[in-house]
Amino acid sequence: MEAARSVTIVNPEGLHARPCHAIVSVALEYGCTLAVTCAGVEADGRSILSLMTLQAAQGSELELRAVGDGAEDLLRRLAELVAAGFQA
């Protein structure tokens, strides 16, 4: 199973450590791979350190791509998380 989705970072501080932690925590509940691309740079969505290297500020668009069981469900949850400014 494969899924892709675009999301926009809305929280003022961008993709700093805590949002990265939130993304990885959800991603690790699934057996999927998760690639997160921002401005042409791809990161491993299952690694906080990798996600932090994207330097994604507020307004940045992220392309999420998951492959594996539950890929669509994973991206749906991540899209909600990002849209809520990681407050959920």
Binding site: H16, A17, C20, H21, V24, S25, L49, S50, T53, Q55
Partner: protein
């Protein structure tokens, strides 16, 4: 990039003694106070802020690295350190592994002459890139002196 210049050897440590997370947060802040990088009167606030941040979610980012970081009222520029705990500490890290490399970062609440939030995000990105480097983690763990540790940051400043 010269982010390494923000890390003063006297603020750092190659032999943290703490036995657990609360002790480590105290020790990391104590080292900044002893180095005159953080005023004594902010010691308690800084420890409390770091502890509260850990409750929101562990700063253990995986691969033996933690980045305890918070905004702190009363400072006008970033105060930071890199510290090593030889044996490693349980930190509830994302990968469940003990942590032996700590990047502590205290930053002002607001932008100012000495603090540019965009530049700060760049520094955090640099720290993440550095921490992902197996060579950095290996050599940092073996550093014998604080100066050696900061020299390593300088040497790897272009990651």
């Amino acid at each position: 990039m010269n982010f390494w210049k923000q890390f003063k050897p006297k603020c750092c440590s190659v032999k943290l003694k703490a036995a657990d997370k609360p002790q480590a947060l105290e020790e990391l802040i104590d080292n900044l106070v002893k180095a005159d990088a953080l005023p004594e009167e902010l010691r308690a606030d800084a420890v409390t802020a770091l502890a509260e941040r850990e409750e929101l979610g562990s700063t253990g980012v995986g691969q033996g690295v933690a980045i305890p970081h918070v905004k702190l009222k009363g400072i006008d520029r970033v105060v930071c350190s890199v510290s090593i705990h030889k044996e490693g500490l349980e930190w509830a890290a994302i990968d469940g592994e003990p942590v032996n490399i700590f990047f502590t970062v205290l930053r002002p609440e607001r932008a100012g002459e000495e603090h540019d939030p965009e530049r700060h995000l760049e520094m955090m990105t640099w720290i993440a890139k550095l921490a992902r480097e197996p060579d950095f983690r290996r050599f940092a763990g073996r550093a014998k002196t604080k100066t050696e540790l900061v020299d390593l940051l300088k040497e790897m400043s272009t990651v």
